[in-house]
């Protein structure tokens, strides 16, 4: 089966610009998660979708971040306007069951650099 796909793999943008990251989960996985790792810090949770519904968005840093999952398939994470501290690697993960033994399947991440 195809894995979790993220696009783009790298993005370099200027402060104040807008960037949209995309995640295609494994087909049939209702649960989709966004995480990010900023320089020198741990991977941190951003939010969790179950199908098209936001189950938990407690990790979203501020209102410059907007995540959507229309139709319950792929998801987008938009950062508008981007700030320097948004630089990092944004991971998407999906799972079929809610951590009932298999753990997440992660995508390769999008490395975002804001200059």
């Amino acid at each position: 089966e195809a894995g979790v796909t993220q696009f783009p793999s790298h993005s370099v943008i200027e402060k104040g610009q807008t960037v949209t990251l995309r995640c295609d989960p494994i087909s049939g996985h209702d649960n989709l998660y966004w995480y990010r790792r900023v320089m020198g810090k741990e991977i941190k949770f951003l939010l969790h979708f179950v199908k098209e519904s936001k189950q938990d968005e407690s990790g979203m840093p501020n209102n410059r971040f907007l995540a959507e999952r229309t139709g319950g398939t792929y998801s987008t994470l938009k950062v508008q306007p981007a700030e320097l501290e948004d630089s990092g690697v944004y991971f998407c993960a999906s799972s079929q069951d809610r951590l009932l033994g298999s753990g997440y399947t992660f995508g390769s991440g999008t490395r975002l650099t804001v200059v």
Partner: protein, 112 residues
């Protein structure tokens, strides 16, 4: 505040050595502990541990959880250069659906 701590943060060993990576946690309503291996890109799942004292094994890797002392270890025997990676420990909680808290990771380098 919920947190996961890993030690050491960085480790260099020779091929054939055995290594033990440590993970301790302080979280409310613990549900499970997970280990991941991250090479260049996506973290890949290794183990999920929910019960104390039951060792999970996969080839040269094994892991065990101690819920009383709030820690887990990941052992790798007869290390190979392909084991070089960042090993991530993460903890999930009953009260937060499927959000997990990651530790900082242990960067393991295995040299020939």
């Amino acid at each position: 505040e919920d947190k996961v701590v890993q030690s050491p943060l960085s480790l260099v060993v020779h091929e054939g050595d055995t290594v033990t990576l440590n993970c301790s946690y302080e979280v409310t309503n613990f549900r499970s502990l997970l280990w991941y291996k991250q090479e260049k890109k996506a973290p890949t799942f290794l183990f999920m541990l929910t019960s104390s004292g039951i060792e999970k094994k996969s080839g040269r890797l094994s892991s065990i959880l101690d819920k009383k002392e709030l820690f887990s270890i990941l052992n790798i025997t007869a290390t190979q250069t392909g084991d070089s990676a960042v090993y991530l420990c993460a903890v999930s909680m009953k009260t937060s659906y499927d959000k997990v808290i990651f530790g900082p990771g242990t960067s393991l380098s295995v040299i020939p």
